[in-house]
Structure formats: C-alpha cells, structure tokens
C-alpha cells in the first residue's frame, strides 16, 4: 500500500471520528430547544456534551489540516469550490462555539434563549451540510481540466445531495438522542429515549432512501458491486437493531449501533470514492485522485511519521477524558455551562 492510500484511509478515519463524536454533539444541539423544557433541563443537556464538544470539533480541524497537508489540490478545489456553503457553515460553527461558553454566564432569560437558538442553528446547519458535502463528493461536481470547480452554490443543492443532507441530519439527531439517554437522569432520560424512538423510523427510512438513491445517482455500483460486502450491510443492520435495543432499554448498545451506522456509512462513501477524492461530473478524467491531488512523497512520509506517533496518543487521552466524565448529569447537579 502506498502512502497516498495510507493518507486517504487516515483522512477517512478522521471523518469517521468527527462524524461519530461531533455527530452526537450536533444531535444534542438540535434537540436542545425541544427536550429542554426549562432552564435546569437545558443546562443538563448542554453540560452532557460540555466537556467534550471542543475536543470533538478538533477532529474536523485535523481532517481539514490533513487534507491540506496530504492532498493540497483537494483542499484548494473543495474549499474554494464550496465557498458559500462553507461560509454558512463557518458562521454556524462560530455561533455555536461561543454559545456553549457564554450561554449560562448571564441570568437573563432572553440572553439564554438567544444562545440556545444559536446552539440549535449552529448544530442544525453543519449536520445538514456535511451530508450534502459528502454526497456531492461522491456524486461528482463540475470540475474542469485544471482542477477548478466550475459550478455554483446551487449546483451543490441537487436532490441527491439534499437527501444526503437529510440522512446525516436525521442520523445525527438519533445518535444525539441516544447519547442523551446515556448521560441524563429521570424525566430527561425518559424524554431523550422517547425522542430517540420517534426519530428512529424517519432516520432509517431516509438512510435507506439515500442508499437506494446512491446506487442510482453515482457510480458506486461499478465500485463495490451488487453485493457490497459486509461493511455497508452491517451499517444497515445496525440501524435496524436500534429500535429493538431502545425497547429493551439497552441504550448503550443502541449508541454503539448508531455509531456503527455512522462509521460504516462513512467508510462506504470513501470506498466508493477511492482512489478519487472528488469526482468530476464534467469528465471522469478530470476527477481529483489521491495521486494527482497529493503532496510530494517526502511530505507524505514526514506526515506519516508524525501521525504514527501522535494519533495513538490523542486517541488515548481523549478516551481517558470520556472515561473520567462518564457519570450521568442530573438537572440539579453542579454545572459549569
């Protein structure tokens, strides 16, 4: 396996980590105004991700940095091509980050209410847009022979990509609701679990619709064949099992299952892409690949050594932080946010 492939896999891993972790953060943020009936319960909900959200968001920053370092042409084409969509996402992320920190620092009801909606908006927009972005990567966007995106903002909002957006939005909401049922207590726990049960059917339907649409709208059939192998199938089985697991109150297993669905769906998209990183709908030959978009062998080697040393360390201490703060959060507990 060459280093280009290694970095393709590593970036896929970063996106898996990002969608798995920040996925439930987004879900929690979207559910906040609906599950949190009063200030105490809203604070409990926010504090359930209080320790983690910032560290989770770094997965995105690292993925962005890794794309820049390993595949500069991918970074340049995607970020300049998806310009307006990214501006909207950045605004959402800025408001969300500030909202977590500032929300409970004043007692005023209107102040807190405004920040709660900032958290909602700041979670809803990226949860939707990441699905749109992933769908567009695999479906293909107009890219010319010199790797420049030649579509517009509205090119990105095609029906297939929008279904992809709904899929990521709904699965993140489900993932977030189950996360909350693991972290909260009493009445809040019950309402989180019942939200998860309600979200399960629409998320499952949308996800399967997206899968079917993917066969129609992309060349994934040529890539992975009629029998897609275990990974996409397990992604589907995992989400089907969630409803049963919620019924028998195995929330932890349900969370593992939505996690598997997110991780394996992401893998499937990257399998469909490989060895391309952005598909050109104008001409297959103009697609960006892990070879024509990549850094020099030397840079890839340097970055591989750095990643080999530091990724395990990061994984270890982030896992440790989750272990330390594994306790449930009650509406009356000593809250920081």
């Amino acid at each position: 396996m060459d280093l280009n492939t290694v970095w393709f896999i590593l970036i896929a891993v970063l996106f898996i980590g990002f969608f798995f972790l920040e996925g439930f953060d987004y879900g929690v943020g979207i559910l906040l105004p609906f599950l949190g009936k009063d200030d105490d319960s809203r604070r409990a909900i926010i504090n359930s991700i209080g320790t983690f959200w910032d560290g989770n968001e770094v997965w995105l920053l690292t993925a962005g940095g890794a794309i820049f370092a390993a595949f500069p042409n991918w970074y340049a084409t995607m970020f300049s091509g998806f310009y307006l969509a990214l501006v909207i996402m950045l605004i959402a992320l800025i408001l969300r980050a500030v909202a977590f920190e500032y929300r409970s620092k004043k007692d005023s009801k209107s102040w807190r209410n405004r920040w709660d909606w900032a958290i909602f908006f700041g979670s809803f927009v990226p949860a939707l847009l990441w699905g749109v972005a992933m769908a567009n990567l695999i479906r293909g966007v107009p890219i010319d022979s010199s790797m420049n995106y030649v579509g517009t903002f509205f090119t990105l909002l095609n029906p297939y990509a929008l279904v992809g957006g709904l899929a990521s939005l709904s699965i993140f909401m489900l993932h977030g609701a189950i996360f909350l049922s693991l972290k909260l207590t009493n009445g809040l726990l019950e309402s989180a679990r019942s939200a998860a049960k309600k979200l399960w059917l629409p998320s499952t339907v949308i996800l399967f619709a997206f899968v079917a649409y993917t066969y129609a709208a992309t060349d994934i059939l040529n890539k992975i064949g009629v029998n897609p192998g275990p990974i996409p199938i397990l992604a589907g089985i995992a989400i089907l099992s969630v409803r049963y697991l919620l019924n028998i109150r195995k929330d932890g297993w349900a969370f593992v299952m939505t996690g598997i669905t997110i991780a394996f769906s992401t893998i499937t998209i990257f399998m469909g892409l490989y060895p391309r990183v952005m598909v050109s709908s104008s001409n297959p030959l103009w697609s960006l690949t892990i070879y024509n978009a990549s850094s020099s062998p030397y840079t890839l080697k340097v970055m591989s050594i750095v990643a080999l040393i530091f990724v395990p360390i990061v994984l270890a201490y982030q896992a440790w932080s989750y272990w330390v703060f594994r306790k449930r959060i009650a509406a009356k507990s000593d809250l920081e946010y």
Partner: protein, 459 residues
C-alpha cells in the same frame, strides 16, 4: 472592488480579530497554571480564588479565539486556493501538525480542567491546565513555522510547478521562527500581564473586598508584564537585526530609507512622498540605524531604491516596494507602544517593591488603560510584518495577486466579508460586556451591584 482586494480585506479583518484573543490565551493560560500551582503547593485559598477568577476570564476570551480560529484554518483554501496549491506541500504540514499536537491537547484538557474541579485528583487537575497552556503555546509554534516560511523560505525546492518540502527539520530550524516565536510568546505574556495588572488595579483602587488577594494578583501581573515586555523588546531587536539580513526591503520600508546609507541614519519622524520615493520632511539621527542593525555605528543598510533594483534583477521587472507609509507607521506604533508598556510595568514593579498599592486616580487610570497598548502593539506588529512583505505572500516565491482563489467571485467574497465582519462586531460587543461583568465582580464569584459600566465610569 475586485475579488483580490476583498479577499485581502477579509483575511486582514478575520486574522487581526482572531489575534485579539490569541495572545491572551497564550499568556493567561500560563498565568492561570502558575496561580494554580501556587495554590497546589501552598494550599493558600486566595490563590484558588485567583485561579478561578482569571480562569473564568480566560474562558470568555478563549471561546472567541477558538470560534474564530476555525475560519483561519479554512480560508486558505476558500480564498487563497492558488496559494494552497502552490504551497500546500509545505504549508499544510505545520497546520495539520498544529491540529494534531496542539489543538487536541488544548481543547481536551481544557474540558477536563473546566469540569474537573473537585472531581479529579488535585495533581491531575493541575496537570490539565498546564497541558492547556503547553498546547496553546505549541499551536503558536506550529502556525509560526508556517508563517516563518512565508517570510523566509527554507528547506524547499521548486518542482512540479509548486514549492515542495525537501527538509522538514530546516522548516523547524528556520532562523526566522526562532526570533518570531519568542516574540509572539513574550507578547502573549505581556498582553496577559497588563490585563492582570489593570483589572487588579481596578479592584485595589475601589478597595471593595479581597484586597489581599488582588495585591497578590497585582504583584504577579507586575512581574509578568515586566518580564513579557522587556523580553518582547529584546527579542524584537534581534528580530529586526535578522530582518536586515533576510528581508532588506522590509527593514528599508520600516525606516522609510529610500537609498542605501553607510552608516545609516534612523528616522525619528518622516513625512515622505511614496510615488517619488523621497522625503518631504524628516528628522534623522545619524548612524543610529547602523547601530541597531549591527550593534556598531557603521555598516550599510540597504535603501528601498537599491533593493528594488536588486529584486528586479533577481525576479524580473515589477514593483517590489511595499506600501511604505503603512509599514513605517505600523512599525513605529508597535515599538512606541512597547516602550510605553515598559515604563508602566516598571512603575508597577516599583510599587510592588514598595508594597504600596494606594493609587491616585491618575496612576490608576494610566495602569488601567495600559491594558489596551498590547493589543495595539500586537495588531500593528502583524500588520507590519505582513504588509511590508508585499507584493509577496511567500517572499520571493509567490505574489499575493497570484495566490487568490480564481473561482470565487467578488460577490461571494463581499458576502462573506460582510457576514464575518457583522458577526465579529456583534460578538466582540457581547464578549466585552461579559468580560466586564466578570472582571468587575468580586473574586468570590458574588456579583457586585453595579456591574454594567463600572469600569468605564471609574476610569
């Protein structure tokens, strides 16, 4: 306006804004860690209160630094895609390493620290804030590795139509990095030091409660601000001497030195004519610039016209002169602010030495408002170092005009420029109001009656 000009404005606004918060994060994280260490060692409750007090202000500042930092990481690709293609092989690596080594550490352990009071063993909780401080300052090291390459490219070759890295250690060993990083590090220390000093002075002047704790805080701030300022000046001097060697045009622009001189005079005050490249009115001290450049009253310092000729020979026809007036004045404002800070910190240090914390209204006002000087110095310093490098983005390798995204329309950039500016403006108003609220409230977390505008009305 064309897309290039708009993109430059957007980069300038978002970066300057981001750098309002960064130096405070760099310096205050270490300050809070030191305070908590003292508490850990001595068990003195006052230091616990101080740790929490400054910790809270640290977080209010940190939130905006993180939020605006995401834009920084994305906008190279968004607005400067040609630059990203040309430079990605070199520039992407430090950015990715910054995220992997620094951002994870900083953000994960900050969460651990915020939520870990009384839940974690004290030693581990103390380690968490130190890891935040180390992570923050490591992130500065890596992003400055990238910036230093832009000032002084090393360890690369031009291949396949782009700059490719040939020696990673050369990037890290770049002489420019090792004058620039200390400069930024100590600037962070000075910025945090004056923040601590001025808010402590505010509480001492009003003598409400916890006078003894704020005396400790003032003492800390005085030492911290003094050390930061004296070091930033000394390192800055070294940095300028380095600049004479590697970026002669930048030095010439900083001094409005049109023609080479030996020994070179230093301008105290110049009104120049940029288009004619000559002085309209100038007061210059003979030989002083040579002394600053070489530590002796001799030696040639190259002038703008001569560097322009040299660079035309090297890089082909073109205008290689940066905007001289902006370079000249931003440099002077930075240096001037630095020396004013030094005087105030010496005054504060002297008061600390005398254990005299009774301030006249004037003394208090001076100390209080000095808090703004580091911000002015930080901003003008960056404006100088980036503007006086023009027309280059990477000195000698790629020009700003060739760096901009070729697929992003001016309308799109205008939209994002306005959006970011409006949101940033709203957020800074919110941030300052929160900062005031917590800075003026008592150290026990009990809020005082008149939170809103107390600082302004007192000062």
């Amino acid at each position: 306006m064309d897309a290039l000009t708009l993109a430059r404005w957007q980069f300038a606004i978002t970066t300057v804004y981001h750098f309002f918060f960064v130096p405070v994060t760099l310096g205050l994280s270490i300050a809070v860690a030191i305070m908590q260490t003292v508490y850990y060692r001595t068990g003195n409750e006052e230091y616990k209160k101080l740790t929490k007090f400054w910790g809270k202000l640290f977080l209010i500042n940190f939130a905006l630094g993180v939020a605006t930092g995401i834009v920084q990481e994305f906008q190279f690709g968004m607005n400067w895609s040609q630059y990203s293609r040309f430079m990605g092989d070199i520039f992407g690596a430090p950015l990715a390493i910054e995220a992997l080594l620094a951002f994870y550490m900083e953000s994960t352990f900050l969460g651990v620290w915020i939520f870990g009071w009384d839940k974690l063993p004290r030693k581990i909780h103390l380690a968490a804030i130190w890891l935040v401080a180390i992570g923050s300052n490591l992130s500065a090291l890596w992003i400055l590795t990238a910036n230093s390459f832009m000032q002084h490219p090393v360890g690369y070759a031009i291949r396949n139509g782009r700059a490719e890295m040939t020696d990673f250690w050369a990037l890290l060993g770049n002489g420019h990095l090792w004058v620039q990083f200390p400069h930024v590090f100590f600037a962070g220390m000075a910025t945090a030091g004056f923040l601590i000093l001025s808010i402590s002075a505010y509480h001492l002047f009003r003598k409400k409660d916890n006078v003894s704790a704020f005396e400790k805080s003032f003492r800390f701030g005085a030492v911290y601000a003094f050390l930061g300022t004296i070091m930033v000046i000394l390192v800055g001097h070294t940095q300028a001497q380095y600049m004479v060697k590697i970026q002669p045009m930048k030095m010439a622009a900083a001094e409005a030195l049109w023609n080479s001189e030996n020994p070179a005079s230093m301008s105290l005050f110049t009104i120049g004519d940029e288009s004619q490249r000559k002085d309209v009115f100038a007061i210059r001290v003979p030989a002083l610039l040579s002394f600053l450049a070489y530590n002796r009253f001799q030696g040639e310092v190259k002038g703008i016209n001569d560097v322009q000729k040299e660079e035309q020979q090297q890089f082909g026809p073109g205008d290689y002169v940066p905007p001289v007036a902006i370079s000249y004045w931003t440099f002077r404002i930075m240096v001037g602010a630095g020396f004013l800070m030094l005087f105030v910190s010496i005054f504060a240090l002297w008061r600390t030495y005398k254990s005299n914390y009774e301030f006249s209204r004037l003394a208090y006002r001076v100390i209080f408002w000095t808090m703004l000087l580091p911000y002015i110095a930080n901003t003008t310093g960056w404006l100088f170092t980036e503007i006086a490098r023009q027309p280059w983005t990477v000195y000698g390798l790629i020009r700003t005009a060739d760096s901009v995204s070729n697929v992003v329309s001016s309308g799109s950039v205008l939209f994002s420029l306005i959006s970011f500016t409006v949101i940033y403006a709203i957020l800074i108003v919110v941030m300052i109001s929160l900062f005031k609220k917590f800075a003026s409230s008592g150290i026990d977390g009990s809020e005082t009656k008149s939170t809103g505008n107390t600082i302004l009305s007192e000062a």
